[in-house]
Amino acid sequence: MVFSWIVSILRPLGMAFRHIFKYRFTVKYPYYVLETSERYRGRPVLDLAKCVGCGVCATICPNKAITMVNIENRRYPQFDAGRCCFCGFCAYFCLTSALKMNGGYELSEYDKSNLIYPPEKLVKVPPPPPERKKVVKLKKLSLSTGVTHG
């Protein structure tokens, strides 16, 4: 019994010591950014040359985040990031693959009106992270380190 007491006292202590030197999953976010996987769904990005203005995306959008607007007598989608649920239907149903969901996840804005992306803003692929940010590859976070999240 005494032996089991001693073990029960020493075992958590040893585990704590091992934890001190273990790898941490936490990423210091504003300074380091995780690389997203290939199929990650961010904000939709429009390819103006491919878009035929059919309006399928606006029809299929469950949250009505996409509306069609006229520019120079052609119809283009206008996107509201505040309503988007990132289901990806617009990109999936797009006839000409003009919409892609690779717009990244850094969508927060100080002003609500900035959340609305007119076609000319929707075209822009978001800029790569600034100089101060380093991209941490997901490979490093694989389960081979022995500790899982949660």
């Binding site: 958590p12 934890h19 273990k22 210091k28």
Partner: protein, 355 residues
């Protein structure tokens, strides 16, 4: 008497070696500066260590690079000093205001009797200790024993049910740990034959007492942890049960004083463990003060680890542990010392009881 003679006499009074040595002792190394810096560092180190144990990163921002968060305590203290002092309606006004201010004084007073290292001075060997007395371990333990009474007084004076409950828990806890502390310190005193911390350290030149008296070390360490109220024994302020125990009502300056006293107590306790069982400043190659600080740091890490590792005991479990385990263990250690003194006295550094 002209101004030159006044200046000369002042210079003769203050610019001499004993006075400057005393200033160094009182203000810098074992004195005021050391516990202050220790508190700033220990709070930061505790947060960082807890984070590492929990597989987090810990504080990052207030401070340079890997020392992120080290200035947080200073910022917090400055903020708290500006805060309004709220005295509860039911509180005993005088005691409520005086007792928390007395806490750091008594903790720092205990620090004054701790010898840290031989002082590199010319002539007879001097020690880095603010006030030398041949009964230093008694004085330090006595000053330690005052702290829980202040806690009880504070808990009562705050006039709130949480503080009262915390104070009563502190009183129960006092019953559990005070006897083992004294008994295990008595083991060391018996082997050394002196109450003097300097002599206790010097007598460990051949073998540290952690090897000679391992049971006493265990008992002393555990009951010191209870005395400090560190995590497995933080029954008096159990945050999940009674808001913050006896310190619930404190704001501003009072809170700063209370927390400061807690961490200075941690400093004194680590010094005691280092001096009594780890050979104090004894060690090869490095200067003695460096050896002391290294051992001190290791003891502090072990004191802090408990918070990240163990769950809190119930009060009855603590009393059980104190009376049924720690006190018998200390008595067994005393018995072992007596047996050694009878049959193998050459192991002990000092022959006593007539050899």
């Amino acid at each position: 008497m002209n101004i030159e003679t006044i200046i000369e006499s002042l210079v003769a009074l203050f610019i001499n070696r004993p006075f400057i040595e005393m200033l160094i002792k009182v203000l810098i190394f074992p004195g005021l500066m050391f516990p202050l810096l220790f508190v700033v560092f220990a709070v930061w180190f505790e947060r960082k260590l807890m984070a590492k144990i929990h597989l987090r990163i810990g504080p990052l921002h207030v401070g340079p690079g890997p020392l992120g968060g080290i200035f947080q305590l200073i910022a917090d203290a400055l903020k708290l000093l500006q805060k309004e002092i709220i005295v509860p309606y039911n509180a005993h006004k005088i005691l409520y205001n005086i007792l928390p201010l007395a806490m750091p004084m008594i903790s720092l007073a205990a620090m004054a009797f701790i010898p840290v290292a031989p002082f590199p001075s010319v002539g007879p060997v001097d020690y880095l200790v603010v006030f030398y007395t041949p009964y230093s371990i008694l004085v330090v333990l006595a000053l330690f024993a005052i702290h829980p009474f202040l806690v009880i007084g504070v808990g009562w004076a705050s006039g709130s049910k949480y503080t009262t409950m915390g104070a009563l828990r502190a009183a129960y806890q006092l019953l559990a740990y005070e006897v083992p502390v004294m008994l295990s310190a008595a083991c060391v005193v018996m082997v050394t034959g002196s109450f003097d911390l300097i002599k206790i350290v010097e007598s460990q030149a051949n073998i540290w007492y952690i090897l000679l008296l391992p049971i006493a070390f265990l008992v002393f360490f555990v009951s010191m942890m209870a005395e400090l109220g560190r995590r497995p024994f933080d029954i008096p302020h159990a945050e999940q049960e009674i808001v913050y125990g006896w310190a619930t009502e404190f704001t501003g300056v009072h809170y700063v004083c209370v927390m400061f006293a807690e961490y200075v107590n941690l400093c004194v306790a680590s010094c005691l463990v280092t001096l009594l069982f780890l050979g104090g400043w004894l060690g090869p190659v490095l200067p003695p003060a460096a050896w002391f600080l290294i051992k001190f740091g290791i003891v502090v890490v072990f004191f802090l680890m408990g918070r990240g590792v163990y769950p809190r005991l119930r009060i009855d479990q603590l009393l059980n542990a104190g009376w049924r385990i720690l006190i018998p263990l200390a008595l067994i250690q005393i018995f072992i010392i007596l047996v050694l003194a009878k049959f193998a006295p050459w192991i002990l550094p000092v022959t006593f009881l007539g050899g």
